[in-house]
Symmetry: C2
Subunit: 297 residues, 2 copies
DNA sequence: CCCGCGCATCGACAGTATCGATGAGTTCGC
DNA sequence: GCGAACTCATCGATACTGTCGATGCGCGGG
């Protein structure tokens, strides 16, 4: 493989016309350029240069190689510039996975903030529930994920998460139902029919009801929080939904009350251990800040 | 500037998936690849790799850089291949300057022979009288030239010539003129009107006539040997033409006789001193051989 | 004819590419 | 659950070479 430094010397010679000028342009000494040129000829087994008077001239082969070399150097410079742009957060494409209610709430806000802070960074969003998101991180399909986890839930392997928000859970009931004031007791709904969300949410619901001393009768399950609210509004039963889902969409025919002590953790999840690429850290920071603002409001 | 060897390590890692396999592919030890990757990250200030389990994975930045690196390596390989092809005479474009009568005789024969010997080499012909040809060699416009010189003529500076053929000179007269047998004596035409060729040929003609004891009356001058023969055929006068010009074109209405001891040297002229690029030497050799064959026939 | 300019050569030094040996962390199988 | 095997990181040693300053050589200009 041709040594690029030698090519650089040839290109500089081609540009400047003399070895000394080439050396100056590259901030080298003149013997260094001479050395590289001689080695380049020896290593390629070609005649690239010709002494003429007190100067040098490129042979046709040398001329063509210098042109090729210019392309190579340009491509290298371009690659370096791209990398620098990405490292300095002036450019880049970050692929983000987020669960539906975050995709509808946190992500749009994060996009706005990211555009403000790092105009060159672009987000590419994919909707995915936490287990899929972890799998996508492992597979390298996405660079970053917004996930959630319920208390005492183990983290999937290979990924690292930082909790950025505690998302309280709400009991959601049809509008006609009088929930009274103060904290709500799930036990009141032991004999009511229930609607529940995705697999993981259903497990958490079962745990909550178990703590309240009963086993709920599940009438319907859907991971679509809009559909779930519609079912509740139509009087099919009650449900428990996290705050973000209710913020993303609020059916006017349902009422809600916080379930004391019940919450899920909203997490920014990355693959592997730090350090992460600067762009990944930047997007993670923006997501954290958006979540924190949401928590304060 | 990014070091290409480090890029190579990154590309190999990208291709193979593990450092060890990359090392094997590049015929290096594993610590060498590790070293290059670490240095690449340090020198670019980027996070390109991530430890995962007992292996490594490329970050998005690393992935992009690996792709760019692949392009760079491909371009380098291509440049090297082109150069090798040229050096081994499998490809190449040689620019040749030749004076008109050689362009019409020697060059076509050389093209045929060249195509036979080195099918990859291509000739690019420019017509030029010897002084122009020397200037073009000096300017780098052509790589090789066919020139001619009369005896005692000094060689222009910066170029080197090898004589490949002695081209005899002929007295050319209208068909009706009886030239008799045996060597022709220019003195016979002291009172005839003369036609002559280019500047240099005219000087040689004057020298020949001077040696024969008279000064010719020049009725017409043209560097076009076809036109000169037409003028002679129409009875305007007589002329002296070299063998190649008569071989390139022979007006049926003229007769010729050798001028004893008069000849011009046909030369292959190159720029500067050897060594020359292999392709230049190859074309020069073919031109020499064609000229030698012509001399023998 | 001599001076200046440009390249080649030489010797020396520093930087580093490379390797083998070894250590640390992870995965897999028994 | 523990050991074996695998993968990468680290370390020290060595040889290579990129780089420079000094100097020699050849050519062109004053």
């Amino acid at each position: 493989m041709i040594d690029v430094r030698r090519l650089e010397a040839l290109v500089a010679l081609h540009r400047t016309g003399t070895v000394s000028a080439a050396a100056e342009q590259l901030h080298y000494g003149q013997p260094t350029i001479s050395h590289h040129l001689r080695r380049l000829e020896a290593e390629t087994g070609s005649v690239l240069l010709q002494r003429v008077g007190r100067g040098l001239r490129l042979t046709p082969d040398g001329e063509r190689l210098a042109q090729r070399g210019e392309e190579v150097l340009a491509l290298l410079a371009r690659a370096e510039a791209e990398l620098t742009a990405s490292t300095s957060l002036q450019a880049g494409q970050i692929r983000l996975a987020a669960f539906p209610s975050a995709a509808a709430t946190l992500v749009p806000a994060a996009v706005v903030l990211l555009r403000e802070r790092h105009p060159g960074l672009a987000l590419d969003l994919t909707e995915a529930e936490p287990p899929e998101a972890a799998a996508m991180l492992r597979a390298g399909t996405v660079d970053l994920a917004l996930t959630f986890a319920y208390p005492d839930q183990a983290e999937p392997g290979g990924v690292g998460s930082v909790t950025v928000h505690e998302d309280p859970l709400y009991l959601v009931a049809p509008r006609g139902l009088d929930l009274g004031d103060g904290p709500v007791d799930l036990g009141r709904f032991a004999d009511t029919r229930w609607v529940t969300g995705c697999e993981r949410c259903r497990r958490e619901l079962l745990a909550l009801c178990d703590a309240a001393g009963f086993t709920p009768e599940i009438a319907f399950a859907s991971d679509d929080y809009v559909a779930v609210q519609s079912l509740v509004a139509s009087g099919l039963g009650v449900t428990v939904l996290p705050g973000l889902a209710l913020r993303a969409h609020r059916n006017p025919d349902v009422v809600r009350r916080r379930v004391p002590g019940a919450a899920r953790r909203i997490q920014v999840t990355t693959y592997g251990a730090p350090p992460h690429p600067a762009a990944v850290d930047a997007v993670a920071a923006v997501l954290s800040e958006v979540a924190r603002r949401r928590a304060e409001s």
